[in-house]
Structure formats: structure tokens, C-alpha cells
Symmetry: C2
Subunit: 154 residues, 2 copies
């Protein structure tokens, strides 16, 4: 039985192709950022992604990471999570649909939230004369681990 190829590589190809189609050039730096992003466990900040991508392309500048992340978000290949204090985390969108997040205020853990009940609100927006093109929804609280720790400390 042939060992199946790692699933991340063909995805990388597809993403590069989509960037290309959108009029961007394919560079070693962009490949590195994309691979770093694919390798992160969950949503991370630009610095983290920079650190990881540098292991692939050591002379990569942080500016390029920001620019690449911006392009990925604009093209719909990545999305952002806004932390409580406004800082931004990035993650790849692996399927077509977006999702929201649960953010732990204690340890910063980010959990995925598949549900998106924003449809009815778009209606409300339309009633106010708005055309709604995007939305952001984050839930903040405390994850199971942090609650356990707190309980122990008592």
C-alpha cells in the first residue's frame, strides 16, 4: 500500500496558485510564510510566524511577513482573530467557510467555534440602511485548564 502524501503539500500548491491567479508573484519568502502558517497549531501573531518562517528562509524580514499576511487575508486565504486588547492573530482558512473563536483571557488559548449565528443580524443591519460585508465575533472567557488551575490554587 503506497504511503499517502502529507496533506499539507498539495494545499500549499493550491494556495500558491490562488495567490498567483490574484496577480501576486510567488517568492521564496511567501512560500516560507505560508508553510509556517500551515505548521502553527492555532492562530498566531506576526512575530511568531516570522520566527517560524525564518527557519525555512532565514533572511526573511518581519515587514514581508506583515505584507504577506495582509495579502493572504485580502485574498481570503487567511483570517484574523482580534484579541481582547486589540492585538491580531492570523490563521489559514482551510475550508471555504469562516469561523469564530473562544479566547481564554488567562492563557490566551484559542478554540474554534463553528457556529455563526450572524445571519439575522445582517437583516437588522439592512433595516438600518447598511450593506453588511463582514463581521467579527469573539467570545472571551476561561478555558477548562485555567479554571482547574484556579480551583487548585484555592
Amino acid at each position: 500500500m503506497p504511503r499517502s502524501r502529507a496533506p499539507s503539500e498539495p494545499r500549499l500548491e493550491g494556495r500558491l496558485r490562488r495567490l498567483r491567479t490574484a496577480g501576486h508573484r510567488i517568492t521564496a519568502q511567501r512560500k516560507a510564510v505560508l508553510r509556517a502558517l500551515a505548521g502553527m497549531g492555532c492562530a498566531c501573531g506576526a512575530e511568531d510566524i516570522h520566527a517560524r518562517a525564518r527557519r525555512i528562509y532565514p533572511r526573511l524580514g518581519l515587514v514581508t511577513v506583515y505584507r504577506t499576511l495582509g495579502a493572504l487575508v485580502r485574498e481570503g486565504l487567511a483570517q484574523t482573530v482580534q484579541l481582547d486588547d486589540g492585538r491580531i492573530r492570523y490563521e489559514l482558512r482551510d475550508d471555504g467557510r469562516h469561523h469564530h473563536h473562544l479566547v481564554c483571557l488567562s492563557c490566551g488559548a484559542i478554540a474554534r467555534l463553528e457556529t455563526c449565528a450572524v445571519g439575522p443580524l445582517q437583516q437588522a443591519g439592512r433595516r438600518r440602511g447598511f450593506t453588511v460585508t463582514a463581521h467579527r465575533l469573539e467570545l472571551f472567557g476561561y478555558c477548562g485548564d485555567c479554571r482547574s488551575l484556579e480551583r487548585e490554587a484555592r
Copy 2:
């Protein structure tokens, strides 16, 4: 028939009392910020509030505005709106219940959204082991005015 008193003044008193009860001192600066905030049409940034409050108390520093806004939010008298780019707008909470916002990506106008359909999502959070203590929800798009302008330009 006696002319009814302007509704904002007794509210100001109540807010000052609440600050006082929470252990804060009442200063001319804080009164000015509170009155400026009450006079703004919709959620505004610290600079705007500073500018307006200075008309009441000219030597007010921007730092004090930030500190006062922070206190108001902590005491539940004001709330924030996060713009698309992470900048923060402040507004007084005139009733007990919170609400969300529609933000125009073109002119920055902010409309109020009474509906808050986040209840079911809290459930989803609980299923992930989270205790949800807060959430943020903003819709982005284009207001009626900006759409009209765009149509004219065509």
C-alpha cells in the same frame, strides 16, 4: 405646565455618584469627560472626547481622558467599540443592557444594533469547556449615505 428638566443633568449626577461609590474621587476633569461623552452623537475616540471636554475644562490632558475612560469602562458606565483596524471608540451605556454595532468602512459611522444573538454561542463555548464572560460582535459594511455617494460617482 412646568418645563421638564433636561434629562442629561440628573444622569450626570447619577454617574458621578456611581463613580464616587466605586471609590473614585470627583474632579472637574472627570465631570468634563463625562459631559463630553454624553454630548457626543455616537461612539468616539479618545482624541475627539478630549477635544470636546477641553471646551469645558481647557487644560485637561489627554492622559486623563484615557484614565477616565478606563475607569468608566471598568465601572460599567461606558463601553467600547472596536473598529476594523483595532482602534477603540467609547460611548456611555445609558441603559443596563449592552448592544452591538454596525460600522461603516467608508465614513466610520457607527449605528446601534439592539439584537444580540450570542446566547446560543455561549452554549457552544460551554461544550468546549469554556466559561464565557464577555463577547465582542461588530458588523462592518457601508451605510446608506456612502452607498448613495458611490452611486453618484458612477
